[in-house]
């Protein structure tokens, strides 16, 4: 990506800038980083630990109730369980979240929509399957309309069993995800 894509500059300036380098790599790479380039630069070293500390303590999740677990998801954010203690809170738009919770049955009709939601979430992102339905189809495993193998479509980091799991289990699931991020053992390798 050149600078002129972002700032309206003459193309000649852009071409000139592309020749400049810093630490042996083009300057524009460092300025206008994409995810891959961020990763290349900071993948090793202790700076990654700082980033992962920030990421694990600020897991915003997508407000997307789907079934019984959706109700528990709502309660999970409320006083008795209070997910805000861990820096976890729901946002309504996929652009601003880190975690997608699949909190119910994925049907044939809903699968494309939920996949698009997943693709709209900016990296780094994680996905949790909460409840039996999201893991294997649950009590509806043999329905004609249920996609019972969710892990084929999403790189699921944490499975939380239960039908529905209690809000405490939600917290446990998030703790597990935090631990995974800290240990750098999550599926997508952040």
């Amino acid at each position: 990506m050149g600078i002129s894509d972002v700032i309206p500059l003459p193309v000649a300036v852009d071409k000139e800038l592309e020749k400049w380098t810093i630490w042996g790599r083009p300057l524009t790479d460092v300025w206008f980083t994409t995810t891959e380039k961020i990763h290349e630069i900071i993948d090793m070293g202790p700076i990654k630990n700082v980033l992962n500390w920030g990421r694990k303590n600020s897991l915003w999740f997508l407000m997307q109730p789907m079934g019984c677990c959706g109700v528990e998801m709502l309660v999970f954010g409320c006083p008795h369980y209070d997910c805000d203690r861990f820096g976890i809170f729901p946002r309504a738009t996929p652009r601003q979240v880190d975690v997608m919770i699949i909190s119910g049955y994925i049907t044939r009709k809903y699968l494309p929509a939920i996949k698009n939601l997943w693709e709209q979430i900016p990296e780094p992102k994680w996905v949790m399957a909460i409840g039996e339905c999201a893991i294997s189809g649950g009590p509806f495993y043999d329905s004609y309309n249920i996609v019972n193998d969710t892990s084929k479509f999403f790189p699921i980091d944490v499975f939380v069993p239960g039908c529905p799991p209690r809000p405490e289990k939600f917290i446990e699931g998030f703790r597990a995800l935090q631990e995974k991020i800290k240990q750098r053992e999550d599926k997508r390798g952040y």
């Binding site: 700032i7 700082v50 980033l51 990421r55 600020s58 805000d84 652009r95």
Partner: protein
């Protein structure tokens, strides 16, 4: 030795010296304001927790969770930056920058308290202008343009609705707000915020109670907080004008809201609650104005948070109705009152 070199340089090149000092002051101001805004987000989450029988953040950075916002910032600023297909790219990219820049414009003219040195009160202000009240008011309304840029360029229906709502609301409320500022200026015989503060031997909240209420409502509207957060009503239009923003750009917009909240509260304190005025505390007389100022500021901020957690949201047409049909006439009454009282005292 260094000091003497600097004074020598200042004598030789006063303009360049002034520029450098200005830049350094601006940098310090910007970073301090950002940190304070982050603390404000933290404060809001904690206070909100207290209002709602829960704890709020308490895991990151000790039992008070003070580092929570640090974690949020690290995460937001290292997240992927998505520019949606179909977005108006330059406008999309520049909107958060414009938002933060206009906020900093406000910060430049606002005094952040005062200190007493040798019995003389020195206000802590970067640019002490003659018309700073007017300037701040104008800069506050430019912010609506950044919100409109964000909403318009996102190529998203929710964002666009949020942007439209923002503009409609801004027009309806800037007028009464401006008239309130004028009323204050009439009573204080000055448009300079520092002089307005110094003129408040009686706080203007007592001298102009109607004006205070109108200004507070218009301020909440300008900040886009409950019950006036139609521009980003989560349940109606997802996240309003910043629906498509992610990563660092969203982070800027997100923190900008809180910076504006901070600056707006400071303005309210200065215009109506007597700024840093208050009896001098004997032993620590040096910073006693600062103590008064921060006490008032924190009360205003907590009150704003309190309003946020306890009121439902207006509908957009009701908001504009309130602005045009109730606040505007009332602000006229207030203006008349200010003129009469101001002339009488003069």
């Amino acid at each position: 030795m260094v000091l003497s070199a600097i004074t020598e340089f200042a004598a030789q090149e006063p303009k360049i010296y002034g520029l450098i000092i200005g830049l350094v002051a601006a940098a310090i101001l910007a970073s301090v304001i950002n940190v304070v805004a982050m603390l404000l987000v933290w404060l809001e989450r904690k206070v909100m927790g207290d209002f709602q029988a829960r704890y709020g953040p308490n895991r990151v950075g000790g039992r008070w969770g003070v580092l929570q916002l640090g974690a949020d910032a690290v995460k937001l600023f290292t997240k992927e930056d998505v520019i949606p297909r179909g977005a108006d790219k330059p406008v999309f990219v520049w909107a958060p920058i414009v938002a933060v820049a206009t906020t900093m414009l406000v910060a430049g003219a606002l005094p952040f308290g005062a200190v007493i040195i040798d019995g003389k009160e020195i206000p802590l202000v970067v640019a002490n202008m003659d018309i700073s009240a007017f300037y701040i008011e104008a800069a506050l309304s430019i912010m609506a343009i950044s919100a409109f840029m964000a909403g318009w360029s996102s190529n998203n229906k929710y964002s666009m609705l949020g942007a439209f709502r923002g503009i409609a609301r801004m027009i309806a409320y800037e007028v009464p707000m401006g008239i309130c500022v004028i009323s204050v200026a009439i009573m204080a015989h000055s448009l300079n915020v520092v002089e307005i503060v110094q003129a408040q031997s009686i706080w203007f909240v007592i001298a102009q109670p109607i004006g205070f209420v109108i200004f507070a409502i218009a301020l909440i509207t300008d900040l886009g907080r409950m019950p006036f957060d139609q521009t980003e009503a989560e349940e109606e239009i997802i996240a309003g004008y910043n629906t498509e923003y992610s990563g660092i750009r969203f982070g800027l917009l997100y923190f900008q809201e809180y910076i504006v909240m901070l600056l707006g509260s400071i303005l309210l304190v200065h215009l109506y609650l007597g700024g840093w005025n208050g009896p001098v505390i004997p032993v620590i007389s040096f910073i006693s104005p600062m103590i008064w100022f921060f006490m008032k500021l924190i009360i205003v901020l907590v009150a704003l948070i309190w309003v946020r957690v306890s009121l439902p949201r207006f509908r957009i047409d009701q908001v504009t109705d309130l602005g045009w049909k109730i606040l505007l006439p009332l602000s006229m009454v207030n203006l008349a009152w200010a003129v009469v009282v101001g002339l009488y005292f003069a």
